[in-house]
């Protein structure tokens, strides 16, 4: 056989009929990676629809803090009303993401609290439901940040809030490599699916090999990033961009922050 003489089996089509095999784990893993990647790929909201990231994060944090601290039912219902109005003004996907996060956290809390409720730890159903209700509001408010802001804006917001730049750099690099390694993992799963043409008796070993390759790639990427940073004169400090161009939504967010603090003080000590 000369170096390029194709072997006999390659010159003819195989007569092949695949047997049944349960390998839906590949499709499920692909769907899971696609969800993560599309979340990271989210395009930013059009300008003017959200306030400055720093104000957004501050308003969200203050709302979370006050909901957690309050003992007043009146304030809780006021905060819930305002929060639901804000959520309902978002894109349908962001509304769904935010409410889903809140609902999952609330259900989880109810399940955890149920045994103590049966042992009579709560005087009435109202006090029993208060904690899951607060958890719902907090989780929905927290989920509103990633559902509305893309990562560069969150990073910008953290920078404006004087979070240490080195911390933001680590977060930036983490998000970047979650995305890049996620893409590589997705491609590997695609490759696995394309070559899974029959019965695979070693599914766990195959998935382990995919995970191992990803680990090696991530190690290689971390070394390369470190070397690239050294070559560009990285000395341990990192400065990110900060912009401040006030717009209508910024004034609305500022008014919200002042208003919600005022409402908290007003309702303090009342039921």
């Amino acid at each position: 056989m000369s170096s390029f003489d194709a072997p006999e089996w390659l010159r003819h089509s195989d007569s092949y009929s695949p047997g049944a095999d349960a390998d839906r784990f590949i499709s499920k893993s692909i769907r899971a990676f696609l969800r993560v990647l599309s979340g990271l790929e989210r395009r930013p909201e059009p300008k003017g629809r959200t306030p400055q990231p720093a104000l957004f994060l501050t308003a969200d944090f203050i709302l979370l803090l006050l909901i957690s601290l309050t003992q007043s039912r009146g304030f809780l219902f006021l905060a819930a009303t305002i929060e639901l109005v804000i959520i309902s003004a978002q894109r349908p996907a962001a509304i769904a993401e935010s409410l889903k996060a809140g609902a999952v956290a609330a259900v989880f809390t109810v399940v955890i609290f149920l045994p103590s409720a049966f042992w009579g730890a709560f005087s009435d159903w109202g006090s029993f439901l208060r904690v899951p209700f607060k958890v719902f509001l907090c989780a929905a408010a927290a989920a509103l940040v990633p559902a509305t802001l893309d990562w560069p804006r969150i990073s910008l917001g953290l920078s404006s809030l004087h979070i240490p730049d080195i911390f933001i750099l680590v977060l930036d690099l983490s998000v970047k490599y979650i995305y890049l390694l996620g893409q590589l993992a997705l491609e590997m799963l695609y490759a696995l699916r394309l070559r899974s043409v029959g019965r695979n008796s070693g599914k766990t070993a195959t998935l382990g090999a995919v995970a191992g390759s990803l680990f090696l790639k991530s190690r290689e990427a971390s070394v390369e990033t470190y070397e690239a940073m050294e070559c560009r004169g990285f000395s341990g400090s990192y400065h990110s961009r900060r912009h401040w161009r006030p717009a209508a939504m910024d004034f609305a967010a500022s008014a919200f922050i002042i208003g919600i603090i005022a409402a908290y003080i007003f309702f303090r000590g009342r039921s």
């Binding site: 072997p7 092949y16 695949p18 049944a20 490759a191 699916r193 043409v197 090999a209």
Partner: protein, 241 residues
């Protein structure tokens, strides 16, 4: 063999292919030519059942291929057996512990006995000149070696159609010449080859047909490869040379 009709594909709302119609006959060698991001790789992914059209339809031997049809595991497996895909990034395609296992992965799944699997692996190691790599880990190979191992792993399934995504990208001239000669020799095996490429210098005489993608993800010209490559003004207007 392959019929694409008015296919449009988008990713998160951004168009990747726009109203593509294309017909590929059995045994044909088709080059997909276009600037970066014009949709060549997306077309190859579509043909491999990795992405699905927003509108339009495509058929393989008269059978419409859709997400719903590929949910049928038996159909999906025989479909993937018929079409081999060489990824642009070979790292993504190699996941076994040794080169031997990598090439044997497909034939083992097909239920071939050990002797037959070994025969296929040895044939491909010899054909691609990578016999010395047999026991090595794919991860430690050079770019050209990884590409050859990935090609061997794809060929081990003996697909009827080969989809190659920029197979010569990042390879040294000798490996590019090797791949050119290899593709020419494969023609005798009656395979259909669809190849996205930029390396015109190294694929001269390999392809009989070409389809040219524009920056707005449409096929702006298709026909004999030689005629298209000779039209330098047209290629310049499409940002290809």
């Amino acid at each position: 063999m392959i019929e694409l009709e008015d296919i449009s594909v988008s990713y998160t709302g951004l168009p990747a292919l726009t109203q593509i119609s294309l017909s590929i006959q059995s045994g044909e060698y088709l080059a997909l030519i276009g600037s970066n991001g014009s949709g060549k790789s997306t077309l190859l992914k579509l043909v491999n059942g990795l992405v699905f059209p927003d509108s339009g339809s495509w058929k393989l031997d008269g059978i419409e291929i859709s997400a719903a049809r590929l949910k049928d595991q038996r159909f999906a497996k025989s479909f993937h057996k018929r079409i081999g895909f060489l990824f642009q990034n070979s790292d993504a395609q190699l996941f076994c512990g040794t080169v031997y296992d990598e090439i044997a992965f497909g034939p083992r799944q097909m239920g071939l006995d050990d002797a037959e699997v070994d025969s296929r692996v040895q044939d491909l190691l010899a054909l691609l000149g990578i016999k010395a790599l047999e026991g090595r880990a794919p991860y430690h190979l050079s770019g050209g070696e990884k590409r050859k191992v990935a090609l061997a792993a794809v060929l081990a399934l003996n697909p009827d159609i080969l989809a190659l995504d920029e197979p010569m990208n990042g390879l040294d001239p000798r490996t590019k010449r090797f791949l050119r000669e290899f593709l020419l020799s494969l023609r005798e095996s009656g395979k259909t080859v669809i190849c996205a490429t930029h390396d015109f210098e190294y694929i001269d005489g390999v392809f009989e047909k070409a389809a040219v993608f524009s920056a707005d993800h449409r096929i702006v010209r298709s026909g004999p490869y030689a005629g298209i490559i000779a039209d330098r003004a047209f290629l310049e207007s499409q940002n290809i040379v």
